[in-house]
């Protein structure tokens, strides 16, 4: 039995995301599936799981084609997918989560006892005996929740299991336990696994084969024994990213734009850093390291609980994003759909919504032709496709929507002094990514300071003059851009898992090299 993808193609408007993908997983094997952000991984997963329909090509399980099937039918064909974002529910017990939607009934009522017993059996089969099926899910750690999700998926006896970055928010210990669980599932039931991850060092521990997706095509597939971590890094990060933003000089001797001294929020801190006009600070850290919290504090969206923030010579403690915006600080939040895009708004309104009623747009009556001109300018500058001001925000591809989100703050006369970006290229294809980088280069040239937070070390090394590494909310390093992704990844991992190994406070504290 094998899961086969044959010449799968998918485009969003003019942007081709999958350009003919061929892929095969055998039952009983684990295929590590790698690719940079925007290489097309999530599109491929969505096509396989039935969440999206491919333009052409075929997906086969054994002899049955999955083309045109919805998520539920794909599940019935024996393909289960576990997404990166948790889909378990607090307030329900572990067993209730596992049997959600497929409850065991006896004479019409849910048979809790049978569910608990079966859940226990399922978990034991996975080699897990320390999760009580009756416990509330809320009392479980993230690693255990992932295990519950896997148990739920396996309950339907799938032939293939797709895991999308299952260890993204897990500690080393939890990740190790999860690998064990997956190994058990493969050994017991002979299922085939597609394992998507960004962490290269876990691949030898879990996978049998490695596949690299780059720019919508499979670059190569090899047995895990034949590849080194360096091979994979080279294969994932495209050469085009070599020329970085740090080639553009900034005014190192200019006045300080931002100085943070012992800045703290409820979770993050103390943070110390000073930035100059045109300087780019990259913030690197794993999920949950405090990147978003720090940016939200700087943008006025989250309160500051200690230390000080001096912006342009004045101590500030912004009460709202509006207050920060009035001083020229803007945030492009992560999670576009939830936090920055107005899905039903026309593109022009999405672009200009922060500026309506304030400079450079008229205060009182709207000037529609002026708004149109601003959109046209942004569309040209960022190559927004299609350049249609009336098209709804939700109808743009991820990359083009993100261009609009960033374009908001590039409007001339908006008085941008400090641009904060949180995961600016999440779900953005390679082409759009370069256009975004170009736009940021422009911002830098004009002397605005940029802080960009990312979980993509390659992106940080490409953009930053200076890199701050966060781990568990603490600043563990502030260094000149090392152009060494592995160093950043290592620092972040050590910081995140350091205390578990009893190295309390022993994270490497690097000196600023000015």
């Amino acid at each position: 039995m094998r899961l086969e993808v044959n010449d799968l193609r998918k485009s969003y408007g003019p942007v081709a995301v999958l350009k003919g993908v061929d892929l095969a997983v055998e039952a009983g094997r684990v295929l590590a599936f790698l690719g940079a952000n925007g290489a097309g991984k999530s599109t491929l997963l969505n096509c396989v799981s039935g969440a999206q329909e491919a333009d052409s090509g075929d997906i086969l399980v054994g002899d049955a084609s999955l083309r045109g099937l919805g998520p539920r039918q794909v599940q019935d064909e024996g393909v289960a997918i576990i997404y990166q974002h948790f889909q378990v529910f607090e307030g329900l017990s572990v067993a209730e989560n596992i049997f959600l939607g497929h409850e065991i009934r006896s004479s019409g009522c849910v048979d809790r006892r049978a569910q608990n017993a079966q859940a226990r059996a399922l978990l034991e089969r996975l080699g897990v005996d320390d999760i009580d099926p009756r416990a509330d899910l809320g009392s479980l750690g993230v690693g255990e929740r992932k295990v519950v999700e896997i148990a739920r998926a396996l309950r339907l006896k799938p032939k293939f299991l797709i895991l999308d970055e299952p260890t993204a928010s897990l500690s080393d210990k939890e990740a190790k336990a999860l690998h064990e669980v997956i190994r058990q599932a493969v050994a017991n039931d002979g299922i085939g696994v597609i394992y998507v991850t960004h962490f290269l060092d876990e691949i030898p521990k879990i996978a049998d084969d490695v596949t690299i997706l780059r720019d919508g095509r499979i670059l190569w597939t090899r047995p895990v024994g034949d590849v080194s971590i360096a091979d994979m890094t080279d294969a994932i990060s495209p050469d085009a990213l070599v020329a970085g933003l740090e080639k553009i000089p900034f005014q190192a001797d200019g006045p300080e734009v931002l100085r943070l001294e012992g800045l703290e929020t409820s979770f993050v801190g103390p943070i110390d850093v000073a930035l100059h006009p045109g300087e780019v600070l990259g913030i690197y850290g794993l999920m949950g390291a405090g990147r978003t919290e720090l940016l939200e504090c700087l943008s006025g969206a989250a309160p500051q609980s200690g230390g000080s923030m001096v912006f342009q010579g004045e101590t500030r403690n912004f009460a709202s994003p509006r207050a920060a915006l009035d001083q020229g600080i803007a945030l492009v939040a992560s999670d576009r759909k939830e936090q920055s895009l107005f899905s039903s708004f026309a593109a022009v309104e999405n672009l200009l919504v922060p500026h309506l009623g304030r400079a450079p747009l008229p205060r009182m009556l709207r000037n529609f032709s002026r708004e149109g001109i601003e959109f046209e300018r942004a569309a040209r500058r960022l190559n927004i496709q299609p350049p249609n001001p009336r098209l709804q925000g939700q109808r743009f591809s991820g990359g083009n929507a993100q261009k609009i989100m960033v374009g908001r703050w590039l409007v001339d006369g908006a008085g941008l002094k400090l641009l904060l970006l949180d995961e600016p290229t999440q779900g953005v294809d390679i082409g759009a990514r370069h256009e975004l980088y170009e736009a940021l280069a422009d911002v830098k040239r004009k002397g605005s300071t940029i802080i960009v937070a990312s979980s993509d070390a390659t992106e940080i090394c490409h953009l930053a003059d200076k890199v701050m590494v966060l781990g568990r909310g603490r600043q563990v390093a502030l260094i000149d851009n090392p152009h060494d992704e592995e160093l950043l990844i290592e620092l972040a991992h050590k910081a995140e898992h350091g205390t578990e190994e009893g190295v309390e406070g022993g994270a490497p504290q690097m000196e600023v090299v000015q």
Binding site: K10, S11, Y12, G13, D55, S299, A301, S320, P321, R322, A324, L325, A330, L331, A333, E338, Q339, S340, L341, F342, S343, S344, F345, E349, V353, P354, L356, G357, R358, L361, P362, R363, M364, L365, R366, P386, N388, R390, L391, R395, F396, S397, R408
Partner: protein, 330 residues
């Protein structure tokens, strides 16, 4: 709209066909409300020819004037994802306040006080919802009961016999139209103007589409929310003055009872989803008008009130069904 086929990806025949199909469908849904009004008017005309006279249409406009005056700001509130269930009780409170203060304060003083009271009630709702962050439904459900009680406590017995100079608002005509109709038209123009021409228009809708994004992008989410509630309170006070000038009494127990439901019905008929995030003031005007016409026509046809109530409910359900259909298609 040159590129709605974007999300479908595939260039070529199918996507194009889908697009035309969808445009046609959108048009049909968009035309449903005006069509319903036209057909209904025709139906009533056939059944009771007196329906189609200028005087009857003016009578309808007077009948819906207070409802319209509340529905417009209410529509903006709903577009922003908020709701105010206390409008009926606030109407009663404002009516009572006006009725009680004509003697001590004179007409101008009473009118001003009434407008202040309405606005303050709105402000209180707004602060609890937008500044404190309480649930709009629960807060205004609370004020609904609380304010009704307050009104009855202030005036246990119906107040009647208002100054003649005030009552002219209720029956006098200016330039051929009743003053009440003129007030309604002004409120409509205000609503349309704010949404179409002022920068605040899209900001209000932005709140309903994605409040988190609106906050992060630097909109004054609290101020906009409080302002919308205050505006709703103000126009409820206006509507209260319009109502009591027509009936020449302010019964605290019955004035404005159930108005929140009529307003909600009208606004939902006008195509604003319960979750907010979109909508057009003009369609809300049509929604109110449809309700008014329905009530008027059924009375002309001597249909008993029970039946007219049932019809109104049915119309709302049909409208909601249309909305689901539209959501499914897109």
């Amino acid at each position: 709209m040159t590129d709605t086929g974007l999300t479908r990806g595939a260039p070529g025949g199918r996507a194009k066909g889908d697009k035309q199909d969808r445009d046609w469908f959108e048009l049909a849904v968009a035309a449903a409300l005006p069509m319903a009004i036209a057909l209904l008017a025709l139906f009533f005309y056939i059944k009771a020819p007196v329906f189609m006279t200028a005087n009857n249409w003016i009578a309808i406009s007077v009948q819906v004037s207070a409802l319209m005056t509340i529905s417009i700001p209410f529509a903006l509130l709903l577009m922003a994802g908020k709701i105010d269930l206390s409008v009926g009780s606030t109407l009663a409170l404002c009516g009572v306040v006006a009725g009680l203060s004509f003697e001590p304060l004179g007409i101008t003083g009473a009118v001003l006080l009434t407008l202040v009271v309405g606005t303050v009630v709105g402000l209180i709702n707004g602060v609890m919802v937008s500044a404190v962050g309480m649930s709009p439904i629960i807060v205004t459900l609370g004020t609904l009961t609380l304010i009704r009680g307050l009104a009855q406590w202030l005036a246990p017995n119906p107040i009647f016999g208002f100054p003649e100079e005030f009552l002219v608002i209720g029956y006098e005509r200016v330039f051929g139209l009743p003053i009440l109709t003129w007030i309604m038209l002004v409120v409509i123009c205000l609503g349309v103007g704010v949404m179409a021409l002022l920068p605040i228009g899209p900001q209000i809708v932005a709140l309903g589409v994605n409040q988190r994004a609106a906050f992060l992008v630097g909109l004054r989410v609290k101020a906009i929310g409080i302002g919308l509630y205050a505006a709703t309170g103000f126009f409820v006070a206006v509507a209260a003055l319009m109502s009591i000038s027509r009936i020449n009494s302010a019964p605290a127990g019955t004035l404005g009872i159930g108005v929140e439901l009529s307003v909600l019905t009208a606004v939902l008929l006008g195509g604003i989803p319960f979750t907010g995030g979109k909508g057009s003031v003009l369609r809300v005007v049509l929604g109110v008008w449809l309700l008014g016409m329905l009530a008027n026509g059924l009375i002309l046809m001597n249909v008993p009130t029970e039946l007219s109530l049932m019809t109104t409910g049915l119309v709302l359900i049909v409208a909601a069904g249309l909305d689901v259909l539209r959501a499914r298609r897109s």
